[in-house]
Symmetry: C2
Subunit: 449 residues, 2 copies
Amino acid sequence: MSERCSCGIGLIGGGVVGGGVVELLLRRKELLARRTGIELELLAVADIDRERVAALGVPENRIVSDYRRLFDNPEIRIVVELIGGVGVAAEAVLASLDAGRRVVTANKALLANRGREIFSRARGNGVGVAFEAAVAGGIPLIASIRDGLIVNRTQSLLGIVNGTCNYILSQMAASGRSFADCLAEAQRLGFAEADPSADIDGLDSGHKLALLSALAFETWVDFPALHIEGIRGIKDDDIRITRDLGYTLKLLAIARPEHPPETVGEDGKGGDEAGGRLFLSVHPALLRNGDPLAGVSGSLNAVRTVGDAVRESMFYGRGAGRYPTASAVVSDIAMTASSLIFGDGYRGWLPPERNAYEPAPMDDYRTRYYLRFAVRDRPGVLGNIATALGSHRVSIAAAHQFENDHPDGFASVCIFSHLAREGDIRASLAEIGGMDFLRDKPVLIRIED
Amino acid sequence: MSERCSCGIGLIGGGVVGGGVVELLLRRKELLARRTGIELELLAVADIDRERVAALGVPENRIVSDYRRLFDNPEIRIVVELIGGVGVAAEAVLASLDAGRRVVTANKALLANRGREIFSRARGNGVGVAFEAAVAGGIPLIASIRDGLIVNRTQSLLGIVNGTCNYILSQMAASGRSFADCLAEAQRLGFAEADPSADIDGLDSGHKLALLSALAFETWVDFPALHIEGIRGIKDDDIRITRDLGYTLKLLAIARPEHPPETVGEDGKGGDEAGGRLFLSVHPALLRNGDPLAGVSGSLNAVRTVGDAVRESMFYGRGAGRYPTASAVVSDIAMTASSLIFGDGYRGWLPPERNAYEPAPMDDYRTRYYLRFAVRDRPGVLGNIATALGSHRVSIAAAHQFENDHPDGFASVCIFSHLAREGDIRASLAEIGGMDFLRDKPVLIRIED
C-alpha cells in the first residue's frame, strides 16, 4: 500500500446528495486512500449554481457550468451523475459513456425508464454503470443481490423502499390520525416533499422495483406497464381494524414469479432454469406483526429476498438523506476506481439481452385478501357477501362485523380470505358492488404473509 | 458476453459446506457463466473420503486425497479451503498463497486466530483471500461492511452471529423452559452439536467478532484476550422477568469505540480520524422489544452497524447451513474469478499493519445494567442494595421486588440501572455480595438499548 495511484472524478450536480458526495470525498480523502490504495481526486464539479459548489470547499477553477466540459479533461475517468430526472441526466449519462467514462449514478427514474438503453450503451463502450444509491439509499443492496447472492435464483422479493410512505403509514398506525393529517406532518418535518405525489402514489417505489427486478430476476419491466397503487386512499379505519387483529400496513414493492424456482436440496432439485411469468407490483399490503418487515417503521427502508440456496435475507437502513445516499455513491466511486486502477474489472451487467421472465397480469395474482364493506346494518348482509365470495371460489378465513362503528347507521364487515386468485376477488367485488346495502366502494388490501 | 473465459477451481474439503459448494458449482455452471461471463471449472476436489466426493457427481479423475496435488495443476487459480479448524487448514491456506493461488475460505477460527499472518502472506504474494462465508453464513455482510460502507467510520456494531445460541434463547423465551431443556431440544433438532461448547460458551461468536472488528474498525484483536461470556449460566427466571418488562435476551457480539467518531454533519464535523480505545465483547444482553435485533429469533443471524455517514444498517439472514454458507462461498469464487479474469483487481485488504484502536478494558464499559438479587425477605434489604449502588455512583432507573417468587422464603430484587460504568457496578456487587441477606451470587446482564 506504499505506492498510491490516483483516479480523477468529475461530478455533475451539487445539490443535496451531490453536496454530500463532495464533502465526503474531500473530508475522507485519506481514509479512502488508505482503504482502497487510490487517491480519489475530485477534479471538477458541474453545476449551474457555482456558488453552492464553492461553499462546499471546491476550488473555483474546478467548478464548471456545463457538464460537457468534464470530457475535456482526460484525467477524469469516472463521471458521477447526480442531477436527477430523466431529461438532462439521460443526455449526460449517455455522453459520458460515449466519452469512455465510467458512470456512477443515483438516478432511479432514469434507470427504471431507460436502463436497458443505458446499460446497452455501456456494454457497447466497454465501460460500467454503478448505481448502488439508486435503490434504498445507504443500504448496500445492489451489490448484495447482484454479487453476494449471485448463485441464487430468487424466489421472491418484498421491499419497503419509500421512506415517505413508510413514515406516513407508521404515524397513522401510532397516532390513529388520518392520511391527510400525517402527510401534512411529514411535509412539515421534511419527510415529504411539497408535491408528494411521486412518493405517495408509488412511482418512486415503482422505479426501485424495476431495478430490483432487473437484478434479482434478470428481467427488465416495461416501466409504464408496471402495476402501481399508492397510499393516498388508505383509511385510518383500516389501519386501526387490522392493527387490532395483529397486522401492520406497509407500502410494498413485490416481485414474485408465478412458479418460483425450487429450493436447492439434497434431492438434486434446484437446477439452472428460471422463467415463466413474473408478478411485479407496488401496493399497500398487510404484514403480520412479528414479520421482520412489519417492524420497519418511520422513514427506514428494508428489502427481504428469498434465494433458492441462501433462503431469506433482509437488508435494512436509511433509504434516503444527504449522507446515507452519498455514502453509497462514494462506495460506487471507490469500487469503480479500484477496478479501473487495479485491472479492467468489467463484468457484464445483469440482465442479459433476453428477459428471464414475462410479465404476469394481476388477475392471476394469488395471495390472501383483506376486504372491508361499509354496509347498512340489516339482516342477511353478511350472508350475501359470503355467498358472492363463495360463488367466485373465494374462501373466508375470518370475518368480523363491527357494530356501531359508523354514527350514521352503517356497519363495517371485514373479511380475511384464504389464498385466492385476484381475478376471482375482483369478480366478487363487482357482484357485491351492485348490492343495495353497500354504502362505499369496498376496500381491498392484500395480505402478504 | 459472447466469448467466455474459464477459470479453474480447486476445493479442499468435501464435507457439509464443501459438498454444497460442489453441488452449486456443478448445477449452476450455466447460470454463473451467464452472470459473470466466466466458466467456473471445478478441476479438483481434495478429500480423504473420496467416495463422498464421487457421490456428489465429481468425476474420479478430479478427486485427490492430498491437497498438495492441487498445486500441480497450473490451471487451478483459486483454492477453496473448507476443512475447518486451525491446524491443517492453516497449512493448506498458507501453501496455497505461497503457490500464488487466490484463496476462498469460510474458516472463522483460522482467520480470528491467524488472520494477521495469513493476510500479510497474501499481500506478500500479491494475491487475495476472500471469506464472505466466515461471518453470518449466507448474509453478504463482509462485502457490505468492507465495500458498501467503505467511506464510513463505524460508530458501533452489534450482532447476533451464533444461530445455536439464538435458537436456545428464543426457545427459552417462548416456552419458559430451562437452558438445559432447550439445549437438549436444540441438539435433538440439529441446531446444536453433540459438544455444543464452542457455540454456547461464545467462542464461535468471538471468532466472528474478531473478523468484524478488523473490517469495521480496522483493528485486529489479540484473540485470546477477547472478553467472552456465553449463555450457559442464563436462568429462565431472568428471561421471564425481563420479558414481562419489555426486554428480549440475546447473545451479542459488540464492538464499540470508547469515543465513537462524530456523525457527519453540515457543521463540518466528521473528518478522517478514528482511534482510541475499543470495547470488544461477546456477552448476553437485554434488548428492548421493538429493537429490530430483538425480533431476530430462532437460528437466524443479524448484524447492525452504525456508520458516521450512513447511520444504522442491519443485515439479516441464515448464519449457517449447507446451502446458505455455500452460497456465500460461491459468491467469493465468482468475484475472485471476475477480478482474476477481467483484471488484477487486487485491493489491499483491511486493516493496515497498524491498528486504528487499542483494546478498552471492560471495567470502563458504560451501559445500562440489569441486576437481580435473591434475598431473604426482611426489612431494609432494598435500602441496603440501593445504598451500596449509590455509593458507587450507580443510579437506579427502576427497581422491582417480587414477592413469593421463591417457595423457600427468598424474594427477587431486580434493578435496572441508568447508564453506569462496569467497574462501579462490579464494586457495588462486591460490597452487596458480603451482605448476609443474599442467597445466591447476584445476576448481572447488560442492557444494550
